[in-house]
Amino acid sequence: MNIIVCIKQVPNTTDVKIDPVTNTLIREGVESVINPFDAYAIEEAVRLKERCGGKVTVLTMGPPQAENALREALALGCDEAVLVSDRKFAGSDTWATSYTLAAAIRKIGDFDVILCGKQASDGDTAQVGPGISAHLDIPQVTYVKKIEEISGTVAKVERMTEEGYDVVETPLPCLFTVVKEINTPRLPSLKGMMRAKSAKPLKWTAEDIEADPAALGLDGSPTRVIKIFTPEQRKGGEMLKGDTADISKELVELLKDLVI
């Protein structure tokens, strides 16, 4: 079974801080990490390989330093890594990002399953996974919390919904986006880390993936960000004081209109 897992390098949210004076995002010293949801996608890919045999290719589109994320994925058990990187990709919205990733996946060629995270912690759109499957015209199942059964040609999975879950059967190849509940990611193994160190990820440019230049980057993106601002920071309010009985009475009084 050939598995492709798409990962994105994002700024570590624990480090994202707002400058209280200028009310802007402080990015200095912010470390880049693998998008938290993608850790589950990597783990699921490696488990599928352990279950069915085959190989896992990890794919990212990003600046040259995104190679670090790929090495981390290799240490976690992925077999091959592809970095698509080109100045032409700058300014990609989700349309252009999923176009570019779909083109790279076509070049990788043979695949049965594509795994993505539910969403990225920076852009936060959850649109790239379904975008890739639409570009490739393959079926998709989003918010997958369990792959119940999988063989060479079909899979049965559970898709999380607001009320519970759907059980869905799909032919392969198919794209899944996964949620946290699907597994508990392992730590990198020593062997994996050694291998990752010496591995050489493939590096592809826009030309390598035979992409239409008009569909790339800002030019290929229907949306435009016209303004970025920090929301007003929520301020702490009142601290209630007194003994338990007083506090309960006071709070219930304050909230009465809200709860009735």
């Binding site: 995002l25 079926p139 219930v252």
Partner: protein, 399 residues
């Protein structure tokens, strides 16, 4: 290929752009702003703030397209088991305002099986026209047939905007539709407005886990598509007897084909309300000490008719299923009231709940970060306070 340049003549070194860049791509050299091309994503935030027009972003935009054929605001209305979901009423409420500003019709799209009766309800909620497709294959949501039908409708009737809920269904569906019809799609909006001059939908949304807000437009593609966060927009009111034009469409069988097959729909949320729908949420964290402690949270939630949430620590300790987790890797909720019991308030938890209208925090540590955002804070022992609150609420609510 698009490019960005800073004019050395115009730049006066004020450093405003440097602070505006969400990607840390600008630094100062010789009192002039310099852009690191490897880090810049061409997002345009710097050009927007430079008061000296020193930053220019050039695009290879082809010809300006004629977009005048696109009219009307559409709302994709979700139904489950033939019940219109409340998010649809919120979208109709917001869509009404946008359509009025643009001077166009508000249209509802509804897909399902045996749903003809729902048209009346949508008309009463303000839709001027309803596109209704009734077919057994559309009974429950499935990505492919829903996508095909929405694509067909949009291609034939050419709306200028399509709104859809940022729900599991909405996000899966329109992400796929937007690619097929070459449209721009803005995710999870919390504010929408119209730029009348350009007839543009101004879409504002949180990103970076709510740490920043971005306003996004789709200048040269139609329809302009957006998913909208649940519980943010006001529901449309009901106007009894209001009528709308209903357009029933049918399509050849192949349009309804699905490669995936829905085998079963399992509903798990038994005793309490669905978190994302809940107006009141009581959440417990590690401070609740265990399953028994968390039961106190459940009792308070029950007394208030609310849902139970949890921090990741409580979920990881197996005190409660993951479906209750609030936060970055759990659910984003937006209730009227959020009561956090024994939760410290780490950023990953706050991301999921900080847009609640009123936040109450109960924690024994006066320095717990949760107090920085709580509307009302109580320093004390949860085992003391939570049962007392339950009792007091029960007493008052009985009246």
């Amino acid at each position: 290929m698009a490019s960005i340049t800073i004019s050395l003549d115009k730049c006066n070194g004020c450093t405003i752009c440097l602070k505006a860049c969400p990607f840390g791509a600008i630094h100062m050299a010789n009192k002039k702003a310099v852009i690191d091309m490897a880090a810049c994503t061409l997002c345009g935030a710097c050009a927007e703030v430079c008061k000296f027009s020193a930053i220019e972003i050039k695009e290879d935009s082809g010809q300006k397209k004629d977009l005048t054929a696109y009219r009307d605001v559409w709302v994709f209305c979700e139904q489950k088991k033939c019940v219109v979901q409340s998010i649809s009423f919120e979208l109709l409420g917001e869509g009404r305002k946008l359509a009025d500003k643009l001077g166009v019709k508000l249209c509802a799209v509804i897909l399902g099986s045996g749903i003809e009766a729902l048209a009346e309800e949508l008309a009463e909620r303000g839709a001027d026209r309803i596109y209704l497709v009734d077919h057994p294959a559309l009974k429950s949501f499935q990505d492919e047939p829903y996508t095909e039908v929405l694509v067909k409708l949009a291609e034939e009737y050419k709306p200028e905007a399509i709104l859809c809920g940022a729900t599991t269904i909405g996000r899966s569906l329109v992400s796929r539709v937007a690619i097929k019809i070459n449209a721009g799609l803005t995710a999870d909006c919390t504010e929408l407005d119209i730029d009348l001059k350009e007839r543009l939908l101004l879409q504002t949304r949180p990103a970076f886990g709510g740490n920043i807000m971005a306003t996004i437009i789709t200048p040269n593609h139609r329809p302009q598509m957006a998913t909208v966060r649940h519980k943010v927009m006001q529901e449309a009111g009901i106007e009894k007897g209001r009528k709308a034009e209903v357009i029933k469409k049918s399509y050849p069988e192949e349009v309804f084909k699905s490669r995936t097959r829905l085998l079963d729909i399992v509903e798990e949320i038994g005793e309490t309300v669905n978190l994302s729908e809940a107006d009141i949420i009581v959440s417990g964290g590690r401070g609740m000490g265990g399953k028994e402690g968390l039961a106190l949270v459940g009792e308070l939630a029950k007394a208030l008719g609310g849902a139970v949430g949890a921090s990741r620590s409580a979920v990881d300790a197996d005190w409660i299923p993951y479906s209750h987790q609030v936060g970055q890797t759990g659910k984003t909720v937006c209730p009227k009231l959020y009561i956090a019991c024994g939760i410290s308030g780490q950023i990953q938890h706050l991301i999921g709940m900080q847009s609640a209208k009123v936040i109450v925090a109960i924690n024994k540590d006066p320095d717990a970060p949760i107090f920085k955002i709580a509307t009302y804070g109580i320093v004390g022992d949860v085992f003391d306070i939570v049962p007392a609150l339950t009792k007091e609420f029960k007493r008052v609510l009985k009246k």
